[in-house]
């Protein structure tokens, strides 16, 4: 099927779902007060975007995400490279990682708020911890998966260990690392919204909860939609950056 054809199929699927939603809400199959139709939701969301109301909460949520995500990526890649390249470092950290990794990071939010207070620092900590593990694990896997031929090539040219890590292992492992970073991005957004709901001081997550508490259901759905759009845009942006960063992946 041509590219246009495939796009048409996807679009029709989306259109069909929207039509179903509209029907369900308009005919009263679902309580329209609790599930406003897409037409109302889209209009409300557009109003929020067009008026610029979206900017402050969006900026707040995004900066939280950016801080936690950046920190997690640096730490995850750093430790991941160390663990991947050194057997002793791997042995040192592996039990700890295996213990902490399976804990759903969303479950850590309430206890962390309890121990560290409800400030920005805690929120960034939560997001960092959550985003850290996928990046770490994928980096280790990426390092372990580097083709031995590439490593031996660096050896025959007598490149130092440190430079080999930086110039060969890191780029070779980049596809795997980026996969981990993609997972982290999605997880990070979820954690931001969750943390904001509990912290009560602004951001998209806070607004979604606040609108629910005020029974402004249309506004709540509108903000949900905006959040979904944010997730979509971030995902697309990541795709584009990934293609630029690892163009050889497709070959």
């Amino acid at each position: 099927m041509s590219r246009l054809g495939r796009a048409a199929v996807s679009a029709s699927g989306l259109a069909g779902m929207l039509a179903l939603w509209e029907t369900v809400s308009d005919t009263g199959l679902a309580n329209a007060a609790l599930l406003p139709p897409p037409s109302t939701t889209l209009r409300a969301a557009w109003a929020i975007i067009a008026s610029g109301q979206v900017l402050a909460p969006l900026g707040q949520s995004l900066s939280l995400l950016a801080a936690g995500y950046a920190l997690a990526s640096v730490l995850g890649i750093g430790l991941g490279l160390a663990m991947g390249c050194s057997r002793s470092i791997y042995g040192l950290f592996e039990p700890l990682v295996e213990l902490l990794r399976p804990i759903p990071k969303a479950a850590l939010v309430p206890p962390l708020f309890l121990f560290l207070g409800i400030g920005t620092t805690t929120m960034v900590t939560i997001i960092t911890i959550g985003c850290f593990f996928p990046v770490l694990i994928n980096t280790v896997q990426g390092v372990h998966g580097v083709d031995p031929v590439l490593l031996d090539t660096a050896r025959t040219f007598r490149r130092s260990r440190g430079l080999t890590i930086l110039e060969v292992i890191l780029p070779a492992g980049l596809p795997m690392i980026l996969t981990g970073m993609r997972v982290s991005l999605a997880l990070g957004l979820i954690l931001v919204v969750l943390a904001e709901m509990l912290a009560g001081s602004g951001g998209i997550g806070f607004l979604i909860l606040d609108m629910q508490r005020s029974f402004d259901i249309v506004a709540m759905f509108a903000w949900l939609l905006i959040m979904a759009l944010l997730g979509l845009i971030l995902s697309l942006a990541f795709d584009i950056l990934e293609t630029r960063a690892v163009p050889w992946r497709a070959h």
Partner: protein, 321 residues
């Protein structure tokens, strides 16, 4: 042989059906109720413990909620039939076009009721007024409800700017720990949890929003949808009868160990502590005039855009059979 046995079986089946048919007439109806574990709803728990609902043929299926803001969506969606709530959440929901109505009062705070609700802070802190709360955190059970509204109004009245106060949601039973752990600087607590705090010298009362902003305010209510009331008039009437009986019993037994035990049971505080609380009378009717004042306050605080007729959220059985 075969014939006789099968005939016996048929007779047995018929007999069972008959019994079942007879039982149908006074079969127990199940009501799904959402409840908040505060003093406001002690009459309900009294009715439950004393069997008044059972007498009316009602089986109560209880779900804990953290507040009206949580109970009301559950009622509107049909997950619950009746929920414990508050006047502000009801008005707000109704103003947004949600089908909600207050079928009975739960509590009101008179000027002479000191121990029902208050703003609490650590004694060690230097907080004494709304002005001191600027830039600090205040805990309420949920946002956009009666405590949130009157908390903000109190901050404004005592020299502070409510927009400068960060409001955090904390369930009632956890407010004490949140204060101790410095998660929040102050908390708008209600009975019986308030009394547990005041019994501890580490905590101090720094304000009484209801009494200072609007004495005699109607606070707690029991909510349902108009649709439910319309479609289940018998069950609604039965519920209200049992509830009223519970309120009457509550008012007559405020200083008895029996009531202290009931409250201790659902709030998980000690009966000794509850026995010391000076409990006020539970109201028997909703006061539309007070609701009108709350509506005005909500408009002042920007929670409500347009005026509203208080009767819109008050259930009157005479006009709504």
């Amino acid at each position: 042989m075969y014939f006789r046995r099968s005939r016996r079986l048929l007779l047995l089946a018929a007999a069972l059906l008959a019994c079942h048919g007879v039982a149908r007439a006074d079969e127990m109806k199940t009501l799904h109720v959402g409840m908040i574990p505060t003093i406001d709803f002690a009459p309900f728990y009294a009715a439950l413990t004393n069997g008044y609902f059972t007498e009316e043929g009602l089986k109560i299926d209880l779900t804990p909620t953290t507040g009206g803001a949580v109970g009301i969506p559950a009622v509107v969606s049909g997950a619950l039939d009746i929920a414990a709530g508050n006047v502000v959440s009801t008005i707000l929901a109704a103003s947004r076009g949600l089908d909600i109505i207050a079928i009975a009062p739960a509590s009101k705070v008179r000027a002479s009721d000191p121990d029902l609700a208050a703003i609490v802070a650590l004694t060690a802190s230097t907080l004494h007024s709304g002005a001191d709360l600027n830039g600090k955190t205040l805990a309420v059970n949920t946002r956009a409800n009666v405590l949130w509204l009157y908390g903000r109004a109190w901050v404004r009245k005592t020299g502070g700017d409510p927009d400068k106060v960060t409001i955090k949601e904390v369930p009632f039973p956890q407010m004490l720990d949140a204060l101790k752990g410095h998660q929040v600087d102050a908390a708008f607590m209600v009975s019986p949890f308030l009394n547990a705090a005041l019994a501890d010298p580490a905590f101090q009362r720094i304000g009484e929003p209801y009494q200072q902003v609007q004495p005699d305010v109607d606070v707690g209510q029991y909510e349902a949808t108009n649709a439910f009331v319309r479609e289940h008039p018998k069950e609604t009437a039965a519920f209200l009868r049992a509830l009223r009986k519970g309120a009457v019993w509550f008012n007559a037994n405020r200083r008895t160990p029996a009531l202290a035990d009931i409250v201790a049971g659902y709030s998980h505080l000690s009966a000794g502590l509850v026995a010391k609380i000076d409990l006020p009378e539970a109201p028997m009717t909703i006061d539309p005039a007070q609701i009108g004042k709350t509506i005005d306050l909500m408009r002042q605080e920007g929670l409500l855009k347009a005026p509203m007729d208080p009767m819109k959220i008050v259930y009157t059985p005479a006009t709504r059979p």
